[in-house]
Amino acid sequence: MAPIGTIHYLVTAAALFILGVIGVLTRRNVVIILMSIELILNAVNLNLVAFSRIWGLHGQVFAIFVITDAAAEAAVGLGILIAFFRNKETVNVDEVDLLKW
Protein backbone atom coordinates (compact mmCIF):
# COMPACT_ATOMS: atom_id res chain seq x y z
CA MET A 1 0.00 0.00 0.00
CA ALA A 2 1.15 3.53 -0.64
CA PRO A 3 2.36 5.51 2.38
CA ILE A 4 -0.37 7.65 3.87
CA GLY A 5 -0.08 11.11 2.34
CA THR A 6 -2.22 14.23 2.41
CA ILE A 7 -4.45 12.96 -0.38
CA HIS A 8 -5.77 10.13 1.80
CA TYR A 9 -7.07 12.58 4.37
CA LEU A 10 -8.54 14.78 1.64
CA VAL A 11 -10.45 11.85 0.15
CA THR A 12 -11.81 10.90 3.57
CA ALA A 13 -12.90 14.48 4.13
CA ALA A 14 -14.55 14.59 0.71
CA ALA A 15 -16.48 11.38 1.40
CA LEU A 16 -17.61 12.73 4.76
CA PHE A 17 -18.72 15.94 3.03
CA ILE A 18 -20.77 13.98 0.49
CA LEU A 19 -22.42 12.01 3.30
CA GLY A 20 -23.33 15.24 5.06
CA VAL A 21 -24.77 16.73 1.86
CA ILE A 22 -26.87 13.60 1.27
CA GLY A 23 -28.15 13.85 4.85
CA VAL A 24 -29.13 17.50 4.45
CA LEU A 25 -30.86 16.97 1.12
CA THR A 26 -32.81 13.78 1.79
CA ARG A 27 -33.95 13.66 5.41
CA ARG A 28 -37.14 15.08 6.84
CA ASN A 29 -36.20 15.27 10.50
CA VAL A 30 -34.73 18.63 11.47
CA VAL A 31 -32.42 17.22 14.15
CA ILE A 32 -30.83 14.81 11.69
CA ILE A 33 -30.40 17.64 9.16
CA LEU A 34 -28.56 19.64 11.82
CA MET A 35 -26.36 16.66 12.58
CA SER A 36 -25.57 16.30 8.87
CA ILE A 37 -24.48 19.93 8.87
CA GLU A 38 -22.11 19.05 11.70
CA LEU A 39 -20.76 16.25 9.49
CA ILE A 40 -20.07 18.78 6.73
CA LEU A 41 -18.25 21.08 9.15
CA ASN A 42 -16.16 18.18 10.39
CA ALA A 43 -15.18 17.27 6.86
CA VAL A 44 -13.99 20.84 6.31
CA ASN A 45 -12.04 20.70 9.56
CA LEU A 46 -10.30 17.51 8.49
CA ASN A 47 -9.32 19.17 5.24
CA LEU A 48 -7.93 22.20 7.07
CA VAL A 49 -5.89 20.17 9.53
CA ALA A 50 -4.59 17.89 6.77
CA PHE A 51 -3.30 20.89 4.86
CA SER A 52 -1.91 22.51 7.99
CA ARG A 53 0.58 19.66 8.19
CA ILE A 54 2.22 21.04 5.04
CA TRP A 55 1.62 24.75 5.19
CA GLY A 56 1.95 25.59 8.88
CA LEU A 57 -0.33 26.08 11.85
CA HIS A 58 -2.84 28.44 10.26
CA GLY A 59 -5.09 25.54 9.30
CA GLN A 60 -5.34 24.37 12.88
CA VAL A 61 -6.22 27.85 14.15
CA PHE A 62 -8.89 28.10 11.47
CA ALA A 63 -10.19 24.66 12.51
CA ILE A 64 -10.56 25.88 16.09
CA PHE A 65 -12.57 28.83 14.86
CA VAL A 66 -14.77 26.52 12.78
CA ILE A 67 -15.48 24.39 15.85
CA THR A 68 -16.43 27.52 17.81
CA ASP A 69 -18.70 28.58 14.99
CA ALA A 70 -20.30 25.14 14.84
CA ALA A 71 -21.11 25.35 18.54
CA ALA A 72 -22.80 28.73 18.15
CA GLU A 73 -24.74 27.58 15.09
CA ALA A 74 -25.88 24.35 16.74
CA ALA A 75 -27.14 26.29 19.76
CA VAL A 76 -29.10 28.76 17.66
CA GLY A 77 -30.45 26.06 15.33
CA LEU A 78 -31.67 23.96 18.22
CA GLY A 79 -33.24 27.02 19.82
CA ILE A 80 -35.17 27.61 16.61
CA LEU A 81 -36.19 23.94 16.61
CA ILE A 82 -37.52 24.17 20.16
CA ALA A 83 -39.43 27.36 19.41
CA PHE A 84 -40.97 25.81 16.32
CA PHE A 85 -41.79 22.53 18.01
CA ARG A 86 -43.60 24.36 20.78
CA ASN A 87 -45.97 25.86 18.25
CA LYS A 88 -46.49 23.11 15.76
CA GLU A 89 -45.62 19.81 17.50
CA THR A 90 -43.68 18.44 14.53
CA VAL A 91 -40.02 18.11 13.61
CA ASN A 92 -40.42 17.51 9.90
CA VAL A 93 -39.12 20.20 7.61
CA ASP A 94 -41.87 19.44 5.12
CA GLU A 95 -44.36 20.93 7.53
CA VAL A 96 -42.50 24.20 8.06
CA ASP A 97 -44.75 26.12 5.67
CA LEU A 98 -46.20 28.95 7.69
CA LEU A 99 -44.96 31.51 5.17
CA LYS A 100 -46.25 29.62 2.15
CA TRP A 101 -48.79 31.47 0.09
Binding site: T12, I18, L19
Partner: protein, 177 residues
Protein backbone atom coordinates in the same frame (compact mmCIF):
# COMPACT_ATOMS: atom_id res chain seq x y z
CA UNK B 1 7.75 10.88 1.52
CA UNK B 2 10.19 12.33 3.98
CA UNK B 3 9.01 12.21 7.55
CA UNK B 4 10.92 14.34 9.99
CA UNK B 5 11.69 11.64 12.52
CA UNK B 6 12.53 12.81 15.99
CA UNK B 7 14.43 10.35 18.12
CA UNK B 8 11.96 8.17 19.98
CA UNK B 9 8.89 9.56 18.18
CA UNK B 10 8.58 7.22 15.21
CA UNK B 11 5.00 6.79 14.04
CA UNK B 12 3.86 3.21 14.38
CA UNK B 13 1.44 1.31 12.09
CA UNK B 14 0.30 4.47 10.36
CA UNK B 15 -1.50 2.64 7.57
CA UNK B 16 -3.56 0.45 9.86
CA UNK B 17 -4.56 3.31 12.13
CA UNK B 18 -5.47 5.56 9.26
CA UNK B 19 -7.74 3.02 7.58
CA UNK B 20 -9.24 1.95 10.89
CA UNK B 21 -10.03 5.50 12.06
CA UNK B 22 -11.26 6.76 8.71
CA UNK B 23 -13.37 3.61 8.33
CA UNK B 24 -15.01 4.28 11.68
CA UNK B 25 -15.60 7.90 10.70
CA UNK B 26 -17.21 7.06 7.38
CA UNK B 27 -19.33 4.19 8.72
CA UNK B 28 -20.60 6.38 11.53
CA UNK B 29 -21.37 9.07 8.96
CA UNK B 30 -23.51 6.56 7.08
CA UNK B 31 -25.27 5.68 10.32
CA UNK B 32 -25.96 9.35 11.05
CA UNK B 33 -27.82 9.89 7.80
CA UNK B 34 -29.74 6.63 7.66
CA UNK B 35 -31.00 5.84 11.14
CA UNK B 36 -34.65 6.30 11.97
CA UNK B 37 -34.15 7.28 15.58
CA UNK B 38 -32.31 10.58 16.20
CA UNK B 39 -30.67 9.19 19.33
CA UNK B 40 -28.96 6.51 17.25
CA UNK B 41 -27.77 9.17 14.83
CA UNK B 42 -26.42 11.30 17.68
CA UNK B 43 -24.53 8.37 19.20
CA UNK B 44 -23.09 7.45 15.80
CA UNK B 45 -21.99 11.05 15.33
CA UNK B 46 -20.24 11.03 18.72
CA UNK B 47 -18.33 7.91 17.65
CA UNK B 48 -17.41 9.58 14.36
CA UNK B 49 -16.17 12.69 16.15
CA UNK B 50 -13.98 10.64 18.46
CA UNK B 51 -12.50 8.74 15.51
CA UNK B 52 -11.87 12.06 13.81
CA UNK B 53 -10.01 13.28 16.90
CA UNK B 54 -7.80 10.23 16.41
CA UNK B 55 -7.21 11.34 12.82
CA UNK B 56 -6.20 14.78 14.09
CA UNK B 57 -3.70 13.12 16.41
CA UNK B 58 -2.24 11.29 13.43
CA UNK B 59 -1.88 14.65 11.69
CA UNK B 60 0.21 15.97 14.60
CA UNK B 61 -2.52 18.32 15.84
CA UNK B 62 -3.03 17.39 19.49
CA UNK B 63 -4.65 20.68 20.50
CA UNK B 64 -7.32 20.48 17.82
CA UNK B 65 -7.93 16.85 18.81
CA UNK B 66 -8.44 17.89 22.42
CA UNK B 67 -10.78 20.73 21.42
CA UNK B 68 -12.72 18.31 19.23
CA UNK B 69 -13.24 15.83 22.04
CA UNK B 70 -14.06 18.38 24.73
CA UNK B 71 -16.10 20.88 22.74
CA UNK B 72 -17.59 18.92 19.90
CA UNK B 73 -18.21 15.43 21.31
CA UNK B 74 -18.60 16.60 24.88
CA UNK B 75 -20.49 19.85 24.38
CA UNK B 76 -22.33 20.14 21.11
CA UNK B 77 -23.46 16.53 20.95
CA UNK B 78 -24.65 16.64 24.56
CA UNK B 79 -26.68 19.70 23.59
CA UNK B 80 -28.14 17.74 20.69
CA UNK B 81 -29.09 14.88 22.99
CA UNK B 82 -30.74 17.22 25.46
CA UNK B 83 -32.82 18.81 22.73
CA UNK B 84 -33.75 15.38 21.32
CA UNK B 85 -35.00 14.47 24.75
CA UNK B 86 -36.92 17.75 25.12
CA UNK B 87 -38.56 17.48 21.75
CA UNK B 88 -40.64 14.34 21.91
CA UNK B 89 -39.87 12.58 18.65
CA UNK B 90 -41.77 9.34 19.14
CA UNK B 91 -44.45 10.20 16.65
CA UNK B 92 -42.07 11.27 13.93
CA UNK B 93 -40.24 7.95 14.00
CA UNK B 94 -43.28 6.20 12.59
CA UNK B 95 -43.60 8.55 9.66
CA UNK B 96 -41.78 8.64 6.38
CA UNK B 97 -38.08 9.31 6.95
CA UNK B 98 -36.90 10.52 3.56
CA UNK B 99 -38.51 13.45 1.85
CA UNK B 100 -40.15 13.55 -1.55
CA UNK B 101 -37.14 14.81 -3.47
CA UNK B 102 -34.66 12.29 -2.16
CA UNK B 103 -33.69 11.04 -5.62
CA UNK B 104 -32.78 14.47 -6.96
CA UNK B 105 -30.82 15.17 -3.78
CA UNK B 106 -28.92 11.91 -4.13
CA UNK B 107 -28.11 12.64 -7.77
CA UNK B 108 -26.90 16.13 -6.90
CA UNK B 109 -24.65 14.73 -4.17
CA UNK B 110 -23.26 12.11 -6.57
CA UNK B 111 -22.55 14.86 -9.09
CA UNK B 112 -20.68 16.77 -6.40
CA UNK B 113 -18.74 13.61 -5.58
CA UNK B 114 -17.81 13.20 -9.23
CA UNK B 115 -16.53 16.79 -9.19
CA UNK B 116 -14.39 16.02 -6.15
CA UNK B 117 -12.96 12.92 -7.83
CA UNK B 118 -12.16 14.97 -10.93
CA UNK B 119 -10.39 17.64 -8.89
CA UNK B 120 -8.35 15.13 -6.94
CA UNK B 121 -7.32 13.11 -9.97
CA UNK B 122 -6.45 16.07 -12.17
CA UNK B 123 -4.79 18.12 -9.47
CA UNK B 124 -2.72 15.40 -7.90
CA UNK B 125 0.45 17.36 -8.53
CA UNK B 126 -0.80 20.24 -6.41
CA UNK B 127 -0.50 18.33 -3.14
CA UNK B 128 3.21 18.18 -2.42
CA UNK B 129 4.62 15.47 -0.31
CA UNK B 130 6.87 17.65 1.77
CA UNK B 131 6.03 17.66 5.42
CA UNK B 132 6.86 20.89 7.23
CA UNK B 133 5.43 20.07 10.59
CA UNK B 134 6.37 22.01 13.68
CA UNK B 135 7.93 20.31 16.64
CA UNK B 136 5.27 18.26 18.29
CA UNK B 137 5.70 19.14 21.92
CA UNK B 138 5.04 22.85 21.53
CA UNK B 139 1.95 22.68 19.36
CA UNK B 140 -0.35 24.25 21.96
CA UNK B 141 2.10 27.04 22.68
CA UNK B 142 2.44 27.91 19.03
CA UNK B 143 -1.32 27.88 18.49
CA UNK B 144 -1.67 30.12 21.54
CA UNK B 145 0.91 32.55 20.18
CA UNK B 146 -0.93 32.68 16.87
CA UNK B 147 -4.36 33.05 18.45
CA UNK B 148 -3.33 35.93 20.66
CA UNK B 149 -1.05 37.55 18.13
CA UNK B 150 -1.95 37.25 14.50
CA UNK B 151 -5.57 36.17 14.95
CA UNK B 152 -6.45 38.37 17.91
CA UNK B 153 -9.23 40.16 16.06
CA UNK B 154 -10.88 36.93 14.93
CA UNK B 155 -10.59 35.61 18.47
CA UNK B 156 -12.47 38.59 19.88
CA UNK B 157 -15.10 38.37 17.16
CA UNK B 158 -15.55 34.68 17.95
CA UNK B 159 -16.22 35.48 21.59
CA UNK B 160 -18.75 38.11 20.52
CA UNK B 161 -20.36 35.51 18.26
CA UNK B 162 -20.69 33.11 21.17
CA UNK B 163 -22.30 35.82 23.28
CA UNK B 164 -24.84 36.56 20.56
CA UNK B 165 -25.54 32.84 20.13
CA UNK B 166 -26.12 32.39 23.85
CA UNK B 167 -28.53 35.29 24.04
CA UNK B 168 -30.33 34.17 20.91
CA UNK B 169 -30.71 30.56 22.04
CA UNK B 170 -31.99 31.57 25.49
CA UNK B 171 -34.50 34.05 24.06
CA UNK B 172 -35.78 31.61 21.48
CA UNK B 173 -36.24 28.74 23.87
CA UNK B 174 -38.07 30.70 26.53
CA UNK B 175 -41.79 30.27 26.91
CA UNK B 176 -42.54 33.92 27.55
CA UNK B 177 -40.11 36.60 26.47
Amino acid sequence: MQEIAQPGMEPVATTFFFYFLSGITLVSGVFVITRKSPVHSALALILGLLAQAGLYLMLYAPFVAGVQIILYAGGIMVLFLFVIMLVNLERSQKEEQFNKQWLIGLLAAIALGALFVLVYVKGKSLFPYRIAQPIENSNTQQIGVMLYGQYMFAFEIASLLLLVAIIGAVVMAKKRI
